[in-house]
């Protein structure tokens, strides 16, 4: 498949994904991709990153770059996020960078953080980014959305 054909196919796929009617994507709870990106951002924000994004961007195969920005009026961790870093920082492998606002590198459980902004950039081979997103999708089950009025810390 030549690059033009691949481009046409991917553009069609992306357009199809974006042109879904909102009702089809709406979820009575938290939208799945919202939850996935939130879990991804919160986990990566709490881990020492291999910041060599430049090295991760280059390589023979396709690369995916994901930029996610998560804003929360209030955020409470029941536990510190757990991320296992087995390998990173080498050329052609996964890398990420996290920028935090009003959130320390080491979060304290049950501490209320307000006006939090986490912006993460993840770059790497398709399979590695896909595996990380799959982890995030699984971990998203541990994230709950609550009303602002009930944001008090519970024992």
């Amino acid at each position: 498949m030549n690059p033009r054909s691949r481009l046409s196919l991917l553009v069609a796929v992306i357009a199809g994904a974006l042109l879904q009617p909102p009702a089809a994507r709406a979820d009575p709870a938290l939208a799945p991709d919202d939850a996935t990106l939130t879990a991804l951002a919160l986990a990566l924000a709490a881990a020492p990153p291999p910041e060599d994004l430049a090295a991760a961007r280059v390589g023979d195969g396709p690369r995916i770059e994901l930029v996610a920005t998560v804003r929360a009026a209030r955020l409470v961790f029941d536990e510190a996020p757990r991320l296992r870093v087995a390998y990173g920082g080498a050329a052609g492998h996964l890398a990420w960078r996290a920028e935090r606002t009003n959130l320390p590198a080491r979060v304290q459980p049950r501490q209320v953080y307000e006006d939090v902004v986490v912006r993460v950039t993840v770059v790497g081979p398709v399979d590695e980014v896909a595996a990380l997103l799959e982890d995030a999708r699984r971990a998203a089950r541990g994230i709950r959305i609550e009303e602002l009025a009930t944001a008090e810390v519970r024992p």
């Binding site: 691949r6 481009l7 196919l9 991917l10 553009v11 992306i14 199809g16 994904a17 974006l18 909102p22 994507r25 709870a29 938290l30 939208a31 991709d33 919202d34 990106l37 939130t38 881990a47 291999p50 430049a54 961007r57 280059v58 023979d60 195969g61 396709p62 690369r63 995916i64 770059e65 994901l66 930029v67 996610a68 929360a72 009026a73 209030r74 955020l75 409470v76 961790f77 029941d78 996020p81 757990r82 296992r84 087995a86 390998y87 492998h93 996964l94 950039t121 790497g124 399979d127 896909a130 990380l132 997103l133 982890d135 995030a136 971990a139 709950r144 959305i145 609550e146 009303e147 602002l148």
Partner: protein, 196 residues
């Protein structure tokens, strides 16, 4: 037409005419009736016996029953028989559509084909995240590149505000979310579409 068919036809006509509803019916004469002068007592008596004359005093009032009003607030006169249609079978649930992240990642995987490069374990794995968030807003942008070519990019904005009984969620394409293509920036340089 056979006699049996005629009998069936007659029975059907009789039923259609109201036989069996309790209305008096004329019995078939056993023999040809004598012709009496029209209006004579004999003729009138015969017609009355056959039930062909209107009754001056019906034996009893017709049994008319109105259906019970389905709603006590409605006047009885407006009540009508309630016809409850058979419950239509529920339409089959539409299969859940994958989110945009999965769509694009799967497309990129399909385009990439099998990776000949042996790789070790994943660079990182998210094990657990347990948190509560209030007033959440999420933006995501995903870009796919092959070599020096940027195949496409997509982004969304999602807001998840907790509400009662269930939080609302909305996804809309962000400004400039249309798929883009073009040459990738030089290695190491920030990509215009993905680093803001």
């Amino acid at each position: 037409m056979s006699a049996a068919a005629l009998a069936s036809l007659a029975a059907a006509i009789a039923l259609a005419a109201g036989e069996g509803d309790g209305a008096p019916q004329a019995s078939p004469p056993d023999r040809p009736a004598k012709v009496a002068p029209e209006g004579s007592d004999t003729a009138n008596a015969a017609r009355a016996k056959a039930g062909l004359l209107p009754r001056k005093h019906p034996a009893r009032a017709p049994d008319v029953r109105l259906p019970a009003a389905p709603d006590a607030r409605l006047p009885a006169g407006d009540a009508a028989p309630v016809v409850v249609p058979a419950a239509a079978p529920a339409p089959p649930a539409a299969p859940a559509r994958p989110g945009w992240l999965r769509v694009i990642v799967d497309a990129a995987r399909a385009l990439a084909g099998p990776d000949p490069t042996p790789r070790g374990p994943p660079s990182a794995a998210i094990e657990d995240v347990r948190a509560r968030a209030m007033g959440l807003r999420v933006e995501g942008r995903l870009t796919v590149r092959v070599g020096d070519v940027t195949l496409g990019a997509a982004s969304t904005v999602g807001e998840s505000e907790a509400a009662t009984p269930a939080p609302a969620s909305r996804w809309t394409p962000a400004a400039g979310a249309a798929p883009q293509a073009g040459p990738a920036p030089a290695a190491g340089a920030p990509a215009e579409s993905s680093v803001r």
